[in-house]
């Protein structure tokens, strides 16, 4: 029997922490799973860096519009109440602290909240896109990623070895094994996924993990 959360279950866990009226930006990759779970009744308003507030799910093939795309250039829709704007306004929303939550993928997160999600070490041609502005500007940066790399190395680390996107910005990390908060003192366990103990999560984390009251081993 498999342990932990699937990507969709991680997305569901993130969704449980969002609220009606929240303005949210979803990064490319795993965070886009949230878009599959959102319903209009939740009242969560998605921002897309290319200039959309009120982004809806993908349209049926016969309703695609090349002028309505998301940050990954995929066709999307506009929900009632949506607005469109140019890139400077779009990034003013981000950098200016107007966006409530950015849910981003990552290679690594450090115990100080440093985010590495745009470039692998030694990668010659890399694109930062909007990631640096989004992570600097959003009020809350939440990361969604697998707890370990394919080789079993921790992605939650003392110091990032991958190039940084922004320093000291990540507030919370949602993985297949746990939900972890980034505090002034480092990582703190909030919740373990089914089948994992706090001790197992700590062993899979590359920096000290504080255990709050009530999360047993």
């Amino acid at each position: 029997m498999s342990r932990g959360w699937s990507e969709t279950e991680i997305a569901r866990r993130v969704l449980a922490d969002l609220w009606e009226g929240a303005y949210v930006n979803l990064g490319i990759g795993m965070p886009l799973r949230l878009n599959e779970l959102l319903t209009p009744e939740m009242g969560i308003i998605l921002h897309s860096e290319n200039g959309i507030l009120g982004m809806g799910p993908a349209p049926p093939p016969d309703r695609r519009d090349d002028d309505i795309v998301d940050a990954g250039k995929a066709h999307v829709t506009l929900i009632p109440g949506a607005s469109v704007f140019h890139s400077a306004d779009s990034f003013a929303m981000l950098r200016g602290g107007h966006l409530d939550v950015a849910v981003l993928g990552a290679y690594q997160v450090s115990m100080r909240g440093d985010l590495a999600n745009w470039k692998r070490p030694g990668q010659r041609l890399a694109g930062v896109g909007g990631a640096a502005d989004i992570s600097v500007g959003a009020r809350r940066v939440w990361v969604m990623m697998r707890h370990l790399t394919r080789d079993g190395e921790p992605r939650l680390v003392r110091e990032c070895t991958f190039p940084l996107t922004a320093s000291r910005v990540v507030k919370r990390v949602y993985t297949d094994m746990a939900v972890i908060e980034v505090t002034e003192h480092g990582f703190r366990l909030l919740e373990t996924a089914p089948g994992y103990t706090a001790a197992e999560v700590a062993a899979a984390t590359g920096a000290p993990l504080a255990l709050p009251e009530g999360v047993g081993g």
């Binding site: 897309s48 860096e49 290319n50 200039g51 959309i52 519009d65 090349d66 002028d67 309505i68 795309v69 250039k73 506009l78 469109v84 704007f85 140019h86 890139s87 400077a88 779009s90 990034f91 981000l94 950098r95 010659r124 041609l125 890399a126 694109g127 930062v128 896109g129 909007g130 990631a131 640096a132 502005d133 600097v136 500007g137 190039p163 940084l164 996107t165 922004a166 320093s167 000291r168």
Partner: protein
């Protein structure tokens, strides 16, 4: 009688010469002036510096210019689209120099260029390799990177509707970098689906006022099968 419309794409890019800086609007294919880029390719200009969010994908647009060895430098935020072999291989060969700016910084530097400002102070990139070689200043206890403004010889812009005075309306997320680049070039050329007589566009709907626009050319919107 002001009439900024021009009869053809060839006329629209007249005066675009070797070594010039050219801003190209668009995000992926959305709001990208592909037909104007084809006209630049047809004109044969080389040693161009391209300012755009992406650096071309597949073999169209900016990628076509790169594949035909017309580009010396690209200033962009995201050259790593799915089919970016043109720019990737040109950078690996040392043929094209790449300058990377975060997307919000790129947008604001273009806006600053158009607005006559001397630069942009931004927290984006601080403490990362994106800040390398850039001055950092402290104001009121906070640190900022100093990013230089961007200006161009030509801006190639895609809009939806324009009138003969060059007032432009964009369609949905077609805006992206287009209204910003329209402000930042000595010669701004806009390709649109529809040209209107003066007075036909509601002033409250205008995104780019005509003062920023030099030429308007109508291009039939391509109908996808």
């Amino acid at each position: 009688m002001i009439d900024k419309t021009v009869p053809s794409l060839e006329v629209a890019v007249q005066g675009l010469e070797d070594g010039m800086v050219v801003m190209v609007g668009g995000f992926g294919d959305s709001g990208t002036p592909h037909e104007l880029l084809n006209a630049v390719l047809g004109r044969g200009c080389k040693d161009l510096t391209i300012v755009s969010n992406n650096a071309g994908d597949g073999d169209r647009g900016i990628a076509a210019l790169i594949l035909h060895h017309r580009v010396r430098k690209v200033i962009c935020s995201f050259p790593t689209t799915a089919h970016n072999y043109a720019v990737r291989e040109a950078v690996e060969r040392g043929e094209v120099e790449l300058e990377l700016r975060p997307q919000g910084t790129l947008a604001e530097c273009i806006r600053a260029g158009g607005a006559g400002l001397g630069g942009v102070l931004t927290p984006t990139g601080l403490g990362t390799e994106l800040a390398e070689g850039k001055p950092v200043i402290e104001l009121d206890g906070r640190q900022y990177l100093v990013e230089r403004p961007l200006r161009a010889d030509f801006a190639l812009v895609r809009g939806w509707r324009a009138d003969r005075w060059g007032n432009v309306v964009y369609r949905y997320a077609q805006q992206n970098f287009n209204p910003l680049m329209a402000m930042a070039a000595r010669c701004t050329v806009v390709q649109v689906d529809h040209v209107h007589e003066v007075g036909e566009i509601d002033p409250m709907q205008v995104h780019t006022p005509g003062i920023f626009v030099d030429r308007v050319v109508r291009v039939e919107r391509e109908v996808r099968a």
